[in-house]
Symmetry: C2
Subunit: 216 residues, 2 copies
Amino acid sequence: MSAPTTPGPAVADLLGLVAFGELLAFERMAGDARLAPDLRRRATLNEMAAAEIGNYRRLADRLTELGVPPADAMAPYVVPLQAYHDSTEPRDWAEVVTKAYVGDAITDDFLREIAGTLNGPDRGLVLDVLHDSGYAEFAAAEIRTAVAADPRVAGRLSMWARRLVGEALSQAGRVAAERAALTALIGRGDRVDVPGLFGRLTTAHTARMAVVGLNN
Amino acid sequence: MSAPTTPGPAVADLLGLVAFGELLAFERMAGDARLAPDLRRRATLNEMAAAEIGNYRRLADRLTELGVPPADAMAPYVVPLQAYHDSTEPRDWAEVVTKAYVGDAITDDFLREIAGTLNGPDRGLVLDVLHDSGYAEFAAAEIRTAVAADPRVAGRLSMWARRLVGEALSQAGRVAAERAALTALIGRGDRVDVPGLFGRLTTAHTARMAVVGLNN
């Protein structure tokens, strides 16, 4: 059985997933800002959060253009994405920045992979909503500072990062089981390479952990 | 005793107040979005929130230009503004939109009044960070819908709006007592007209309440 390269409903499914991901990342990061140790860091986290909303607007506009109300395209992802965030509520600033660092990077890796399965404007749009690297550098610097101040923090944050990835994979599995068209798109039609995709995401994640002094 | 029209420290005081007001309005609106009855309204509230961050950035950049670290200029307002929001935590969507409607409009009226006391670039900046009227219309329409669906809601929201104004005035009094330079600026040097200012803000607020079917 061979799926077309960019089936219409699958594209709306994907854009809906990314759009709701942005919306929720926005809300959660804004909510986490109160854990910042000072106003400068608090403002920076809020600015990171706000960047997600500009991307949300572009994805919502594209969905409208495709004739799909953004709310309809996002609806299937409310429960799993909410569950991810509810189960990974940061307790302090180090957990906040680690969550932003891990989550943004895995999301971007996933989007870069998936962009290759899309045509023209949707490919460009998905590549455009990748996170600004300045924010990743801010989060990485904050993690390094926390680890330098207290080496025991490295163990706790390493465990936290594993939990973030575990919860994300668990919800991704749930989405994959329920959204056949999306899964087919991610699997690139008949060249299903989902295990390869997960392998690449994991390898990149491990490398990023090492960069900030955490263990996978 | 006559204060200069735009004393340097008073301007930084004012910009710090507005900047932290934007930052906190952003966080709180983003936090309130989960109370939205559907994804469309949730996204709209988040977009309203995100607009505050763009304004925050402009104010912070201006403070930096004036040689004042934004965090220093904002620090005096953390306790009173936080107290305002802690004492006015909305319990449902109708309270969320009423808080946005009331708070944004009073803030804008205050900024329009205060802009007259500032010179050149700061006057332009303060007038530029006024809220987009499209968002006020969204909030007003949501209040009217809530009141139309259940007329008893009007009484509850009228009381809620009075509480919002009462808490805001209480914290404003606290700020005024502690920040002499800011108060002098608001009082326009030797032509102190603070009672007149409060009178005008209250009159405009009452008119806005009537427009959405609420009583003052």
